[in-house]
């Protein structure tokens, strides 16, 4: 892909930048759409209509207007905060989320970096988000923010274990860490997808989905923000565009885990109908629509469920998810050995 770009562009560096910026083409419109969708989904689940005015049809441009508003807003930095960390944290958060897109195979032709340790890389680089949240919470010099930040680090560190083990189940089944290779292995019809290849991978997927919810701080695991307890958690002191960056990160993270889920379990960019509607461009379509489906499920869960308490969150992780994940890993391995 980089090579193709280099042919058209005057300087190789430009080609690399172009190449790196490509996921942005998906991520930005996606975030605008997802925020709108979230509002619509929540509204209709609550017998409301949601935004209806901006832009005409069902308020489609509401989030664009919101973004413009956010950019214009005053950049408020608390006077007693750690200024540098406070200002830097939102960008670091987005960096962490965006960097992970590098190894997501959007289509058979496009992957940011053809890493052999792709899955490992994603798990590692998403931890940057934790760091930034901790930074934000600490730098705000606000006790609520600090509590939120502490909760986040505890939560994400804990939930990384079941996530990793669930991903490991897939890796045991496929024998590679390279996400492109994993995607290619699932070519064919819907039955070639990994989720159907091994019954225990279904459990692995459920585990992955639950713990990824916790990783991206979505309800029922949205304790870092937990609006009704910690006001806004680590975001309490943020406003305007800096807050917007956290919002962007949250939604980008959602997309990331959804895409990773579809790569690992649901055939990545492969069409469910074999050769029908398949190809590099359809690949992007399938990838994004699979991702959107999981995002819809996340929204659906969010507007259905209450929130867990901190100790229960840890209970769920250490008493339920991790033991089950490890047992499941053994079972996956056994299945792979036997069949």
């Amino acid at each position: 892909m980089v090579e193709t770009l280099e042919q058209f562009l005057p300087h190789p560096l430009l080609a690399i930048i172009m190449h790196a910026a490509l996921p942005m083409v998906i991520v930005f419109p996606y975030v605008l759409f997802a925020v709108w969708l979230e509002r619509k989904v929540s509204a209709h689940m609550q017998d409301r209509l949601g935004p209806m005015r901006t832009g005409g049809w069902h308020g489609w441009s509401q989030t664009i207007a919101d973004m413009i508003k956010m950019i214009q807003k005053e950049d408020i930095v608390p006077s007693r905060s750690d200024k540098f960390l406070f200002k830097f944290a939102p960008f670091l958060a987005f960096m962490g989320a965006y960097a992970a897109f590098a190894v997501i195979p959007f289509s058979s032709e496009y992957i940011g970096a053809h890493l052999d340790v792709g899955a490992f890389y994603i798990l590692a680089v998403t931890s940057v988000v934790t760091l930034s949240i901790l930074m934000a919470g600490w730098a705000s010099n606000n006790k609520w923010s600090l509590l939120g930040a502490m909760r986040t680090s505890a939560q994400i560190v804990s939930y990384e274990v079941p996530t990793v083990v669930a991903v490991l189940s897939v890796i045991v089944a496929t024998g590679t860490l390279n996400l492109m290779t994993i995607s290619e292995m699932q070519t064919g019809t819907i039955f070639n997808w990994l989720i159907f290849s091994n019954p225990f991978l279904l459990i692995a997927f459920v585990l992955y989905f639950i713990s990824s919810l916790a990783e991206v701080n979505r309800t029922p695991f949205d304790l870092p923000e937990s609006e009704s307890e910690l006001v806004g958690g680590f975001q309490t002191e943020y406003s305007g565009m800096r807050w917007g960056m956290f919002m962007l990160t949250e939604y980008a993270d959602m997309l990331l885990v959804s895409l990773l889920g579809s790569v690992l379990f649901f055939g990545a960019w492969n069409s469910p109908f074999g050769d029908f509607m398949s190809g590099p461009v359809w690949g992007v379509f399938w990838m994004v629509s699979k991702g959107m489906f999981f995002i819809f499920v996340m929204m659906w869960l969010r507007w259905t469920l209450p929130r867990l308490r901190v100790d229960q969150l840890m209970d769920v992780c250490w008493k339920y998810l991790i033991p089950i994940a490890f047992i499941n890993l053994v079972l996956v391995a056994l299945w792979e050995m036997l069949f």
């Binding site: 929540s42 689940m45 609550q46 017998d47 409301r48 006790k143 609520w144 509590l147 909760r151 309800t219 029922p220 949205d222 937990s226 609006e227 009704s228 307890e229 910690l230 006001v231 507007w303 259905t304 469920l305 209450p306 929130r307 867990l308 308490r309 901190v310 100790d311 229960q312």
Partner: protein, 374 residues
């Protein structure tokens, strides 16, 4: 290695906080996330209700102020006040008025409980039940609006009667509502009440034992949630509540201990069903004809006397201690507000819980700051 130094953190929850239901400030002393002590500070919404009442030049004028005490259950507040003054004046109100009052008070109870369980869901983190509750509460408000023209602060129940007669289609509207509403309760139960996460969050949290509840003079769903079978509508009947058949719902500790947050919550849900029962009977028995203003006195001048009259509002025992010096304006009006008393339990039941539990406990007490601070 030297021992790690830890210290308690004091943190202000409120006065501006999403889960304190208004402007309550709770001073939390925290050890990590564990609450060592919770000290409520109130008074941010103090509007001198009692002083205002003394300066009114008519007993009737107090009613708009009474409305604003518990602004989500204004009808019940008015009813309590009207009953207190009527007892001082020793006037009997017409039969039809009594029925309308009961229907209104029970509709108000449903509306208020809907708000309580909706916002409780919100406190726990579930957003959707909140709006579903509002959807149904809206129907009640519509009935109120058609009767008196206001949706929240009614000024409807007057001393000796009502401000308006109910509209001609009132009975049909109420019947529509009581047919519409019970299936919706199942929706709330599916969505929230029996949700595992919700149960985990509320069961065994903020346990208020019955002796403590009585000693703190808690009332309403808070007292009944602790398993004390005490409802003024049955135990000290006012108006015409002795004519209706209904059960007093008490907490049984189905999901945990008796007196936990879930019990207080479920008492409210089940009380709505009982209120529907009362309304059903009242609508059937209500006479069609009758003047609702017959007993409204032209000038309210009670004899030199004092009275303490109490009624069961959605939040508990609302008492009015009124002293009259024989003049047109009250000498002293004290509102014994249920939330004020119920909230004083908070420090006793919140020690040792977590921050998230504080939110659950405050929500389960179902406070309205307008009534606490008056």
């Amino acid at each position: 290695m030297p021992e790690l130094r830890t210290e308690e953190m004091t943190i202000n929850m409120g006065p501006q906080h999403p889960s304190t239901h208004g402007v309550l400030r709770v001073e939390l002393v925290l050890d990590g996330e564990i609450v060592v002590d919770a000290i409520p500070h109130i008074g941010y919404l103090h509007r001198c209700f009692e002083k205002h009442s003394e300066s009114m030049n008519d007993y009737q004028q107090v009613i708009p102020y009474v409305d604003r005490m518990d602004y989500v259950a204004a009808m019940s507040n008015e009813l309590g006040y009207a009953i207190a003054v009527e007892r001082m004046l020793e006037i009997e109100v017409p039969e039809r008025v009594e029925y309308i009052r009961v229907i209104m008070a029970e509709l108000q109870r449903i509306a208020s409980h809907l708000l309580a369980i909706g916002t409780y869901g919100l406190d726990i983190g579930a957003f959707t039940p909140f709006l579903h509750c509002f959807r149904d509460r809206e129907r009640i408000l519509e009935i109120f609006e058609s009767a008196c023209g206001a949706r929240l602060l009614y000024n409807y129940i007057w001393v000796g009667g009502l401000s308006h007669d109910v509209p001609s289609n009132f009975k049909d509207k109420v019947r529509d509502f009581i047919n519409y509403f019970p299936p919706k309760i199942k929706g709330y139960n599916d969505l929230l009440t029996y949700n595992k996460i919700f149960i985990d969050r509320t069961a065994d949290v903020g346990v208020l034992p019955p002796e403590v509840a009585l000693n703190y003079a808690a009332s309403g769903p808070v007292l009944r949630g602790s398993g004390v079978d005490w409802d003024l509508r049955r135990n000290d009947p006012y108006s015409i509540y002795d004519r209706f058949e209904f059960d007093v719902v008490v907490g049984k500790g189905e999901m945990g201990t008796v007196g936990d947050c879930w019990d207080r919550y479920i008492v409210r849900v089940r009380e709505m069903e009982q209120s529907v029962r009362i309304i059903e009977q009242a609508v059937e028995q209500m006479p069609d004809e009758g003047d609702v203003k017959a007993a409204v006195p032209k000038r309210i001048r009670p004899p030199e006397a004092e009275i303490y009259a109490r009624t069961e509002t959605p939040r508990g025992e609302l008492g009015y201690y009124i002293i009259s010096d024989g003049s047109m304006s009250p000498f002293r009006v004290k509102g014994r507000s249920p939330c004020f008393v119920n909230l004083s339990v908070l420090p006793a039941i919140s020690r040792g819980s977590m921050i998230a539990d504080i939110v659950a406990i405050i929500g389960s007490i179902d406070i309205v700051l307008g009534e606490i601070d008056r």
